[in-house]
């Protein structure tokens, strides 16, 4: 009975530690390759387009409507105690520090992470990765390195874009629908929002991007069992990436708040 309990508890734990180990080894292999092997610039630029350029609409819509609805909800509450003009400050800080990095990462994991695991997974089950290896090309150099570098550059920029459009949308909602004085709105926002809030959001986005790209590439590279396996790998990549973003966000917030403390100081 007790032995069965520990086996039931231990097996998933061992599988989890094994999975983390594989992710770390992939990351180590990738960063070693970045510094010791030539970069395939064409593939890197293709990935910049795929990850950065083509994700912009999703991120702009996410940022814009999140800013808009957050401004409205904040105003509805704050206006009751006569602090409607403080809406801008609350919205800007929240978008910079939490909403933009997390929501951008979730959208990117759904759009880009899924595509990465599906593409690499299909290559795996159709022997295209074996073909790469047989043609003396190391798959990590060819498939993972360009994606990782492109994600490391794109994700912070997408988040900055999300922050910008969130703030613009919140401002428009504030002055058009909520009848807040635009000057006060901006003045409060500028007074309470610091560069460190922006840096914190962009730093989080950088970490989220790394998590998404390694989880998705690893799922693709370990795909098995044909079309069903590709579907499973894609779903797992999105689910694990999203959970990793949400869980790591808490710890990043606590850690980064020491370096970039919140509030007016």
């Amino acid at each position: 009975m007790i032995a069965r309990f520990f086996i039931a508890l231990g097996a998933p734990l061992v599988a989890f530690v094994h999975y983390l180990g594989e992710l770390v080894l992939l990351a180590a292999d990738t960063f070693r390759s970045v510094f010791t092997h030539r970069l395939r610039w064409r593939l890197f630029l293709q990935q910049i387009v795929e990850i950065g350029l083509l994700s912009q609409v999703v991120v702009i819509v996410t940022g814009g409507f999140t800013g808009a609805v957050f401004a409205a909800q904040t105003y509805f509450q704050f206006n009751k105690i006569g602090m409607g003009s403080a809406t801008g400050a609350v919205v800007a800080v929240a978008i910079c520090r939490e909403l933009a990095p997390v929501l951008s990462a979730l959208m990117v994991s759904g759009r880009v992470g899924a595509a990465m695991s599906a593409e690499i997974g299909t290559m795996k089950v159709t022997e295209q990765i074996d073909a790469l290896r047989a043609l003396a090309v190391y798959p990590v150099d060819y498939l993972v390195v360009p994606r990782v570098l492109a994600m490391m550059i794109s994700m912070p920029l997408l988040t900055a874009e999300c922050i910008g459009f969130g703030i613009i949308a919140s401002y428009l909602v504030a002055i058009v629908f909520l009848d807040i004085n635009g000057t006060y709105y901006v003045a409060n926002m500028v007074q309470w929002t610091r560069m460190r809030d922006l840096i914190m959001g962009v730093s989080k986005a950088f970490v989220f991007g790394i998590l998404i790209v390694f989880i998705s590439c690893h799922k693709g590279l370990t795909t098995r069992e044909g079309a069903v396996g590709v579907g499973r790998a894609t779903t797992e990549a999105v689910v694990i990436s999203s959970l990793a973003v949400l869980i790591s966000n808490f710890f990043l917030t606590m850690a980064l708040n020491i370096v970039y403390p919140a509030g007016y100081q």
Binding site: T126, E127, R133, L135
Partner: protein, 246 residues
Amino acid sequence: MIAVRDLRKAIGEQEILRGVELEVAVGETLVIIGRSGGGKSVLLKHLIGLMQPDAGEIWVSGKSIIGMSERQLTAIRQKVGILFQSGALFDSMTVEDNIAFPLREAGMRDGKAMRARVNEVLEVVELEGENAKMPESLSGGMRKRVGLARAIIRQPSCVLYDEPTSGLDPVVSDSINRLIRRLQERFQMTSVVVTHDMKSAVHVGDRIAYLHEGRVYFQGTPAKLKQCDDPIIQDFLLGRSESATH
């Protein structure tokens, strides 16, 4: 060129290879025959390091490839090309890009020279003018030819063929067999062909090895194989599902 010593491999509970002993001389074409699921493709993938054995030795060009890292294996893989059963073409690239891939990866940047080289191998595999097609619009035989063109463009000293004629009609199969023979004569390439197609085996092989229950059961020339009166060999040659020994 290639030597295999006591190669063993199990996948899950199933023992696929149970001590394979094999040698392939330079310039020779060795055909490995055997029943479907008998471990022929697994053996072939071991020869280029795509799979790692549980035990045994594999020597390619005088170097043991067991325990080599993926990066160390790239040097061996530059000398040995492989034609996959499915062709394994990169489906996001045109025929030309697929074939030029090994050259581009080797650092060739001269587009003109690269295209000339691609056209040259396309001519060898009798697919002139198909440069711009995508793999999805090619027939099974054409895919294998493109895969072969990609495998030989860097002129490897050895080419491994995994079921080069499976799923093809007899006419296309014959043209692939002729192509393998022609490559061997033209470029003096060492070849290892895995097949269960006896016609193909006899056509292309200098020597034939019969893989049975994870071991090499017979090795010899095609003529010697035909004369062999071993019931297991005879069952395979005559396509009998119920053994004459039973």
